[in-house]
């Protein structure tokens, strides 16, 4: 049996042990909580950055910060150009767009479609020469020449019918010319989305997206948009039965 002194000493020793253990537990809990808070903050920051779109924004280049409008020369932030939507591209600051008012597919006068070839307009060519290797260009792709050749209306191609329209107009038979033009427009309209589908698969194999208008196309206005680097534009391989005109797309307001 313990006497008074022994029991008192034992009680105080146990109280000290208990307090030391509690202190240690508290320390451990504080450390664990701090680590958890750090992890949570990191996760929240990650989610915030991801949802805020900060990750998809290209960092500003030295040239831009100095007031030069030339796009960044840094490594491309777009490993797959087909991933962004058209409206997202519209918001991207470092994409090179054409100048002037949006033409919505009006073929530049100088460009003439050639089978098996993608013609690049002079405006786009000059933009390509001033940009860097990884610069992304907004490109309006006109495929009216392809549509004119591939479209068959009552056994005739659109190109042949266009010649007929010219002849009828020359003869003053405007109403007949108008009627044929309407037929071409209708046929172009109905085949537009089919053709876009085909182009989409073709462009996707080159890592490019195809963005089109809702209205379809008309007799001399069959276009879609894409976003590509200089290398992709210059080395674009056209199928033998296709003819494209690449021009700078103007940012839609």
């Amino acid at each position: 049996m313990k006497n008074y002194n022994e029991m008192t000493n034992d009680v105080f020793r146990r109280i000290d042990e208990y307090n030391a253990k509690q202190k240690q537990k508290k320390k451990l809990a504080v450390r664990t909580a701090a680590a958890l808070v750090c992890v949570c903050l990191a996760v929240l920051a990650g989610i915030g950055i991801r949802q805020g779109g900060l990750l998809s924004t290209k960092p500003k280049s030295k040239a831009e910060t100095e007031g030069n409008i030339l796009p960044s020369e840094s490594k491309s932030e777009y490993p797959n150009l087909a991933l962004l939507s058209f409206s997202q591209w519209q918001c991207e600051e470092n994409v090179v767009w054409g100048s002037g008012t949006p033409t919505k597919g009006k073929i530049p006068a100088e460009a003439v479609g050639e089978a098996g070839k993608a013609v690049i307009t002079s405006e786009l060519k000059s933009a390509l020469s001033s940009g860097g290797k990884n610069t992304v260009y907004a490109v309006m792709v006109d495929f009216t020449p392809t549509a004119s050749k591939s479209l068959l209306i009552e056994g005739k191609t659109a190109a042949e019918l266009k010649e007929e329209i010219k002849a009828l107009t020359a003869q003053g038979k405007n109403s007949e010319a108008k009627e044929i033009a309407q037929k071409i427009n209708d046929a172009a309209q109905s085949s537009y989305f089919e053709q876009i589908k085909k182009f989409r698969a073709e462009f996707a194999s080159m890592g490019l997206g195809v963005y089109h208008e809702e209205y379809g196309c008309t007799i001399d206005n069959c276009i879609f948009y894409t976003f590509a680097t200089r290398e992709q534009i210059e080395n674009f391989e056209c199928a033998p039965d296709e003819a494209f005109i690449f021009s700078s797309a103007v940012r839609l307001k």
Partner: protein, 186 residues
Amino acid sequence: MDNGAESYRRFCNDGDESGLAEIIRDYKDGLIFYLNSFVGNIHTAEELTEDTFVILGTRKPKYKEKSSFKTWLYTIGRNAAIDYLRRISRHAEISLEEYGEIISDKENLELSYIKEERKITVHRALAKLKPEYRQVLWLIYFEGFSNKEAAVVMKKTVHGIETLVYRARRALKIQLEAEGFVYEEL
């Protein structure tokens, strides 16, 4: 006399360790005997008494002065004993050597705490009664608790304690008579 309430206040509020030492000095032996009536082993009772003082020193339960400090302290001890009995089998075996030691320790403590020979005889007879009878008789006849205080410690009603005391006294009388001892005060 504040029965330790002031000592406990000094310990809790001022961190004065001598306050707890005074409580240990004043209540150690009585609490051991009371808890012995509970667990039936003087060494376990001693450990539980120590545990009770450690609870006072670590958790620092609040003494609200609804009962005397002694009643409150014995209630904490009783709860510690109930926890112990829940954890450990009551039928744990002890060796003969250990048993001899227990008897000897118990006798020494009886001599120092109870002192009177006839009370020691009664205390030994208590060991043969039911635990509940042992507890109530210890609290009332050895610790001087009133029925109300004993009711608080044992978590019973005053009427329940009165009935228990009546039965316990009758059982003790029978036990003492069986041992050839006549105790007139019972």
